[in-house]
């Protein structure tokens, strides 16, 4: 290194030049407070970088959730449509079964009759109003005849008790006696309410 080169060198060069001449010894460099404040801190860097990653991750999760949600909405909507279809089928069926001609035919096939002469009991003075007359087995509206008020929706609705089976009109068929299976199930019913404890 010539002395001529020295002035041309970078400002850092003079520090380098005398080095070989000096004995190597540890130099304690104590950064000034200002320098220390300016130095990038590892903690800040970590926070910044992890913050960026956290944001990216959150965004990713959010969009995954969002698209997941969209699929779940689609699935739920599909289910809703399916359930409302079932509900429609059921309520449509209920409405036709509720029609008066069906109710009358079903009730009379079970042996029920109409009492055309109604009477009322007045509670105030226990007076009987009207003319009470016992209903006869023949006092049904249909009385074994087919309903004349048509409803094509009811063609495939069977009577609860087919006319042929209900032999005696006006007599309700006796309910089938509970078999051994029914009596065996009896104890498994809900537990009786505990007796009230009075003080």
């Amino acid at each position: 290194m010539s002395a001529l080169a020295q002035p041309l060198g970078a400002p850092a060069a003079p520090a380098k030049a005398p080095e070989p001449r000096r004995r190597l010894r540890p130099v304690e460099v104590t950064p000034s407070r200002e320098q220390r404040r300016q130095r990038p801190r590892a903690l800040a860097a970590t926070i910044a970088v992890s913050g960026v990653f956290a944001i990216l991750l959150a965004q990713l999760m959010l969009s995954i959730q969002l698209s997941e949600g969209a699929y779940r909405i689609t699935a739920a909507e599909g289910q809703l449509v399916e359930l409302s279809r079932s509900s429609q089928v059921l309520s449509e069926n209920l409405a036709r079964l509720e029609s008066p001609q069906n109710l009358a035919a079903q009730a009379e096939s079970l042996g029920m009759v109409v009492n055309s002469s109604s009477a009322y009991l007045r509670l105030a003075d226990a007076a009987v109003l009207g003319t009470p007359v016992a209903a006869s087995a023949q006092s049904g509206v249909l009385d074994g005849r087919a309903s004349t008020v048509g409803n094509v929706l009811l063609v495939d609705v069977p009577l609860v008790v087919p006319a042929a089976a209900g032999e005696a009109l006006g007599v309700a068929p006796t309910p089938s006696s509970p078999g051994p299976l029914a009596s065996a199930e009896e104890p498994t019913g809900p537990e009786p309410l505990p007796a009230p404890i009075t003080q």
């Binding site: 969209a70 909405i73 409405a95 055309s116 004349t148 008020v149 409803n151």
Partner: protein, 589 residues
């Protein structure tokens, strides 16, 4: 020096790179925004934005208790894409194995579910392909119910699709079928469905949504351009149970006596509400084709006829109101009454001179007596009373195809017809008008406009409200006296026992009218019973009419359904039984 140059080179390189990058972006931008702009926009639009019709539902027609008489439901058209029809492979969801299915298999399964012929289905596909080899749409089965559609869909045939359509069902079948009307393929055809379509009809809306490549709707992308508006609920005054009962009893009797047609009406006295309006023959709106076109409407409103003696109640009530007679006035009723041109009016039974009171004239239904009393009213007065009672003009119901009937004007009526109309000949009325007139008598002389529809409910708002303003037709006293006389028809008349409802005081009048054909009265009859109960405080009017019965041409033919319907009405509405015995008016002297 080298360092300086290096810096400059570095700057130049950076600028160059940036220029290249920016110009690349510019080129791309121009390419997208200008060169291919239109194509890309269209493609994007088509790919993302899916238009959708939001179907509004047609409103229900309900009875007074909210029971649906007409109900909107969905049906499904099973469609096919003919150009894709072919054998296909499906993964069996249970075994997980791939199974091959043939076209014939698929069509047989569909035909089985929809109760059609597989050959017919195949023909439909072939017809569509013949017409257009690239055909993408053809109907296989139309309007299948939801459960059938679900079964067809579960077959998972790849080239079978479905379309949902709004449809109409009438859960009660023929009950009130004549009033409700029905919907054809082109919309409402008759009855309330057509008359009040503006209330019932829905307005379809539209929306678009965007969807991804896999067909999933993008969240939050739905844009509703037009909300659908559902139709309003039409509230009627009909009680479906009573309507059924009336139809059942009416039809039984109409068939038993071989009538051509029959009507029965129940009207609430206080408000003029029609509780039941039964027509026979009638229509099942679910199955219109099995009914003759003549029977699709309601004869109650559209079938004027000469009512006969039920009109005498109106005439006598008018005379009592005008003050020209009293119920107890003694009248000598001769065997016949001469009018003009040597024409005569006779009674239904041959008799010499009778000593009847005014009450007795109505109770015995004497044409001669009614004509004698009628002399005391001018032609103009008679016409005015008939018109006040609502004859000669449609009722406030304004039913589809409602007729006015004919009340002949006082200035042009002949001297014979002017007397005949007092006992219901030479005048034509509808069943609805007659029920309305009896309502006025039962309601103390105040005629309430006949009401079938109480309103159209749309978003908690009621429109189409009926008129409720009553008009006084005759005095309270005249009305009460008429009711009392009509009670004697039940207590003393020969048809009386068949009109009695145990526990209640009933007032009624029978009518046996001759049916004119081409201006000549024939042996055909129209028989009717009109009445009200309980007589001391009338709540319901019932009127039963049988047209042209074959086996029983007297009013007694209409008595059983009248008695049965009246009994059922009093029971249904828990009307308090009568506690006082009916008055006994003197009928003879």
């Amino acid at each position: 020096m080298t360092s300086d140059r290096r810096t400059r080179r570095r700057v130049a390189a950076t600028v160059l790179v940036m220029v290249i990058i920016v110009s690349a972006f510019v080129v791309r931008l121009v390419d997208i925004q200008v060169v291919r702009a239109a194509d890309l926009a269209t493609e994007a639009e088509a790919r993302r934005s899916i238009p959708q019709t939001l179907q509004g539902l047609r409103g229900d027609i309900v009875d007074r208790n909210g029971v649906a008489l007409a109900d909107s439901v969905y049906r499904y058209d099973i469609t096919v894409s003919p150009r894709f029809v072919g054998d296909y492979t499906l993964v069996n969801s249970e075994t997980g194995e791939r199974e091959k299915h043939s076209v014939w298999d698929a069509l047989t399964s569909i035909a089985e579910l929809t109760d059609t012929d597989p050959l017919d289905l195949l023909e439909r596909i072939e017809t569509a392909l013949e017409a257009n080899p690239n055909s993408d749409h053809a109907y296989l089965v139309r309007r299948v119910p939801t459960d059938v559609f679900q079964q067809v869909r579960d077959l998972r045939v790849p080239w079978v699709y479905s379309e949902r359509i709004a449809s109409r069902t009438y859960p009660n079948g023929q009950v009130a079928g004549n009033l409700v009307g029905f919907l054809g393929t082109d919309g409402p055809q008759t009855g309330l469905e057509l008359r009040l379509d503006e209330c019932l009809s829905a307005v379809n809306g539209s929306s678009t949504f965007e969807r991804g490549a896999d067909g999933v709707r993008l969240p939050g992308s739905t844009v509703v351009h037009q909300e659908p508006i559902d139709g309003g609920t039409l509230h009627t005054t009909i009680d479906s149970d009573l309507q059924w009962f009336a139809q059942q009893k009416l039809e039984e009797q109409a068939r038993a006596v071989g009538a051509d047609w029959a009507t029965a009406m129940v009207v609430s006295v206080r408000d003029g509400h029609i509780i039941a309006a039964a027509d026979w023959p009638t229509v099942d709106p679910n199955d219109v084709n099995s009914t003759h076109p003549d029977n699709l409407g309601s004869r109650i409103f559209s079938w004027p006829y000469e009512p006969g003696s039920t009109m005498k109640s109106i005439s006598i009530a008018a005379m009592l109101d005008a003050g020209v007679t009293t119920p107890g006035e003694r009248i000598g009723v001769p065997a016949r009454y001469d009018t003009i041109n040597g024409w005569q009016i006779r009674d239904a039974w041959a008799h010499d001179g009778l000593k009847l009171t005014t009450a007795g004239i109505l109770m015995n239904s004497s044409n001669v007596g009614t004509s004698l009393l009628g002399e005391r009213l001018t032609f103009a007065q008679r016409e005015q009373y008939f018109r006040d009672f609502g004859f000669g003009s449609p009722t406030a119901v304004s039913f589809l195809g409602e007729e006015s009937g004919i009340v002949r004007p006082a200035d042009s009526i002949d001297g014979h017809g002017a007397y005949m109309q007092l006992f219901g000949q030479s005048i034509s009325v509808t069943s609805a008008q007659m029920a309305q007139a009896y309502q006025a008598i039962a309601n103390g002389g105040v005629l309430q406009p006949l009401t079938l529809v109480t309103g159209c409910e749309r978003e908690d708002e009621m429109t189409h409200l009926p008129e409720t303003e009553g008009t006084r037709v005759i005095s309270q006293q005249a009305a009460n006296q008429t009711v009392q006389i009509l009670e004697s028809v039940v207590t003393e008349g020969f048809v009386g026992p068949q009109l009695t409802v145990p526990g209640y005081r009933v007032a009624a009048k029978t009518g046996t009218a001759e049916v004119p054909v081409n201006g000549v009265y024939t042996s055909e009859r129209i028989v009717s019973v009109a009445g009200l109960a309980p007589a001391e405080n009338p709540e319901f009017v019932v009127i039963v009419t049988l047209g042209k019965p074959d086996t029983m041409k007297v009013a007694a033919a209409a008595a059983p359904p009248f008695q049965q319907i009246m009994t059922q009405v009093l029971k249904t509405f828990r009307v308090a039984p009568s506690t006082q015995p009916p008055p006994r008016l003197p009928t003879t002297w």
